[in-house]
Symmetry: C3
Subunit: 347 residues, 3 copies
Amino acid sequence: MPYTLKEIADFIGAELHGDPACRVDSVASLAQARNGQLTFLGNSRLSRLLPESRASAVILSASEQPRCRTNALVSGNPYVAYVKAAQLLHPPPGFMPGVDANAVVHETARIAPSAFVGPCAVIGERVRIASDAYIGPGSIIGDDVEIGRGSRLVAGVTLCHGSVLGERVLLHPGVVIGADGFGLANDAGTWLKIPQLGRVVVGNDVEIGANTAIDRGALEDTVIEDGVKIDNLVQIGHNVRVGAHTAIAGCAVIAGSVTIGRRCMIGGASALSGHIEIADDVVITGMSGVPNSITQAGTYSSGVPVMENPTWRRNMVRLKHLDELARQVRRLEQALALVQTRLDAGE
Amino acid sequence: MPYTLKEIADFIGAELHGDPACRVDSVASLAQARNGQLTFLGNSRLSRLLPESRASAVILSASEQPRCRTNALVSGNPYVAYVKAAQLLHPPPGFMPGVDANAVVHETARIAPSAFVGPCAVIGERVRIASDAYIGPGSIIGDDVEIGRGSRLVAGVTLCHGSVLGERVLLHPGVVIGADGFGLANDAGTWLKIPQLGRVVVGNDVEIGANTAIDRGALEDTVIEDGVKIDNLVQIGHNVRVGAHTAIAGCAVIAGSVTIGRRCMIGGASALSGHIEIADDVVITGMSGVPNSITQAGTYSSGVPVMENPTWRRNMVRLKHLDELARQVRRLEQALALVQTRLDAGE
Amino acid sequence: MPYTLKEIADFIGAELHGDPACRVDSVASLAQARNGQLTFLGNSRLSRLLPESRASAVILSASEQPRCRTNALVSGNPYVAYVKAAQLLHPPPGFMPGVDANAVVHETARIAPSAFVGPCAVIGERVRIASDAYIGPGSIIGDDVEIGRGSRLVAGVTLCHGSVLGERVLLHPGVVIGADGFGLANDAGTWLKIPQLGRVVVGNDVEIGANTAIDRGALEDTVIEDGVKIDNLVQIGHNVRVGAHTAIAGCAVIAGSVTIGRRCMIGGASALSGHIEIADDVVITGMSGVPNSITQAGTYSSGVPVMENPTWRRNMVRLKHLDELARQVRRLEQALALVQTRLDAGE
C-alpha cells in the first residue's frame, strides 16, 4: 500500500528533504531499491552506495544527507525510523473474520466475531479468543485457553490446556506452549512423573519462533513477560520466568525454574542450568553455558571458537591436563625462587 | 477429586499423625498451600516455613514432624511420597472413548472401543490402537503403526509408518517418531540417500517431550526401552538404543548408532557422537560433548562455564595456544634443571 | 520388489560373479541378511563375517571376492553401489494421485493431476503443486507457495507464504519453512519487529529433517541450493545461503545472514554466528562454535570432550585463569633468563 513521503516523514518523525507528494510502496536494501521504493543508510560503510541508489527516498542521518541525490528522510536514528516505515508499508496480512467451515470448535468456546479460526484448527472447551485474533490453520487450542486481542497464531501452533496469551502475541508454526515440564522423581531406579499443574502465562507483544517449546509450571506458572522475543527451536522449562523485553536467540535452552531479568539478551545455542537467576540487562553471548546465577548486569561468554582441527586436537589433550599444568608452573616458580635465593646467597 | 488423609496415607505408605477423615483435593507448595491442600517438606532449608503453613496436611520426615502444627504424613522419602499423592489427586484428564467425527481413519485400522481419536487426527492403513489409548487432535499416524494400551498422544504428534509404541507411553505435542534417519553416502560430490528401512520401537512407560524427533533405523530398529524419559527438542538419530530408565534432558543430541545404557542421565544440550557406547549408570552433565565411548559408570562433564566477556576473550586466545604453552613450560622445566645442576656444581 | 542379480549388477555397474538369474527382494546387514537378500561388505574389519553370510549376494571389492562363498557383485566402491541397489529395491512408497476429500484446498490453487494432497492438509491461495508431488496429511501450505515436481512433504509440514521448493525435495514431519526471521530493532529498551519480506527458496534434491526451521529472508531471500541435506531440529536464520551439496547435521544452528559454501559438512550441534562466510569444502566437526568467517577449505573444531567430573571441575577453574597462567609462564621465562645471565656472569 503506497504512502507519500510526507505521510511517512510524519509517521516516523523524520525531516523530509525533497518531494512530499512522492509515493513509495515498499522497502528494499540500499543496493536493490528501485523507483517507488524506500531504503535507508544505517551504516556509514555503505555510504559509497548512496549516490547511485535508485530508491525514491532514503532514510539517513543528517551527516549523510548532503551526499543524497534523491529524496531524503533525515532521522536521529535511521535504523529505527526505517523499521517503523517498513511496518507502515508492510503490515501483517489482513484476514476475513469468521470461523472456517473446516475448523472444529467446541460449543462452549467463545470466539470474538472479529477473530478468525482457520481450517483444521481445533478449539477446546471454554476457550476464549478475543477480538482481532487470528488462529491459523491446523492450530490446536486446548481447554480453558485464553487468547488476547490481536494475537496471531500463524499455523500449526499448539496451546495446551489453561495457557494464557496476552494481546498482540505472535506465534510461529510449530510452537508448543504448555506441554508438561520434565518433572521426575527417582523411586528406587525408576522415574515417577510429577504432575505438572501450573500454566504458561504469556504477556503482551511477545513473539515466539518456529518449533519453540515452553513448558507449563509444575505447581506455579511459567511466565513470559511483556515484550519478550524468542527465536526458533528454543526450549523453556517449567517454572521459568522471562523478564520483560528480554530477547532469546535460536536453540537456546533455559532449564527449569530459571528466572531471567528484564532487557536481557540470551545468545543462540546458549544453555542456562536450572534454578538460577539472571539479573536485568545481562547479555549472554552465543553458545555459552551458564551454570550459576549472574547477579550483575554485563556481558558473559563461554563459547569456544573453532581452530584448525590438528591444533584443536593438541589443545584439547592439554585442556584435559590444565590443572596439572598450573601445578607444574607453581612448582617451577617455587624452584626458581629457591635458585634465586641460592644465587643471592652467593653459593 | 478429594481423598481423606487415611486414604492418602495408605496409598503412599506414610504414617498419619492427625485427623484421618480430613479431606484434601489438591497439592501445592509449602508456601502457597491453603486449607484443603496437601503439601510436603522435602528440603530442610524450607523447614522454617513449616510452622506457618496453612496446608491441611504436610508430608515430611519423622525428624521434622515435631514442628508440624497441622496433620502430618510421615514418610521415609517425603518427596517420592508427595509425588505419589500428587498422582493420586491429579490423574491425567479423562476422556470419552470414541472416534471424533472430524478424524480421518482408514478402514483397515483397528481401534479399541475404549480408545479415543480426536478431531483432525489421521489414522493410516492397518494401524492398531489398543484399549484406553488417547490419540489427540491433529495427530498423524502412519501405516502399520501399533499403539499400546493406555498410551497418550497429547496433540499434533506424528508417528511415521511402522512405528511401535508400548503401553502407557506419553507423547507431547510436536513429537515426530520414525522420520528417516540422516543416512547419506557421498558419490563423487553429491549425496545419495540411503533408504531407511528400520522402525522405531518404544517400550512401556516412556515419556517424550514436545518437538522431540526420533529417527527410524537404517536397517535395524531404533529402540527406546521401558521407562525412558526424554525432554523437549531432543534429537535421537537412527539405530540408537536407549536403555531402560534412562533420562535425557532438553535439546540433547544423540547421533546415529549410539547405544546408551540403563539408568543413565544425559544433561540438557549435551551431544553424543555417532557409533559410541555409554555404559549403565553414566551421568553426563549439561552441555557436554561425548566423542568416545564411556565404559565406566560415573559422572562426566565438559561444559565451559561463562566468564565475564573480557576475561573470556583473553582466555580463549590463550586456549588456541595451549599446546604451545605446555611445551613452553616443559622447556622452562628443563632449563631450570640445568641451572640447578650448574649451581650444584658450584659454577 | 524383487530384481535379478543381473539387473542389479547392470544398475549399479558391478561385475557379477555367480548366478545372474538369482533374485533378491531387499537389503540387510552382513550379519542379518538371509536367503533372498542382498548385503555388502564395506569395511574390511567385517570381512570375517563374509564366509558365514547367508545372503543371496554380497556387494564387495575385488580383493574381498575370493573369500565370498555366495554370489558376489564386485564394485570399485561397494558402499555407493550398495546404496544404489538399496534405492532400487526400496523405492519411496507410491501413492494414488488426487486430493483427499478431507483436504482443504483454495479454489485458486493449481494442483497437477498426478499429485497427491492428503487428509487435513490445507492449501492456500494461488499455490502451485507440480506433477508427482506428495503433500502428506496435516501439511499447511501458505499462499503463493510453489512446489516442484516429485517433491514429497511426508506429513505435518508447514510452508509459509511465498516459499518455493524445487524438484524432488523431501521434507520430513514438523519442518517449518518461511517463518519470520528473528529481526528486531531496539527502540529505547523495547523491540520493534522488522517486517520479514523475503522468501525461502529451496533448490532441487534437497532433504530436510524433522522439526527443522528455515526462516524467510528479511529483504532478500533465504536460499538452500541444490542437493543440500539437512538433518533434524536444525535452525537456519534469515538471509542464509547454503551452497550446493552441503550437509548439515542435527541441531546445528546457522544464525542470520550466514553464507555457507558448496560441499561443506556442518557437524551436529554446531553454531555459526551471524553475518559470516564459510568457504567451499569446509568441514566443521560436531559441537563447534564458529564466530568468524572461514576462508580456507579444511577441517575446523572446537567441541570440548568430556572428562571425569572432578577433573573437569579442576580444569575449568584453571581455564578461567588461563590468561594469568600464560603471563605467569612468561614472567618465569624472563626470571629464569636473568638467573642464567647471572650464572653466566659468574656471580
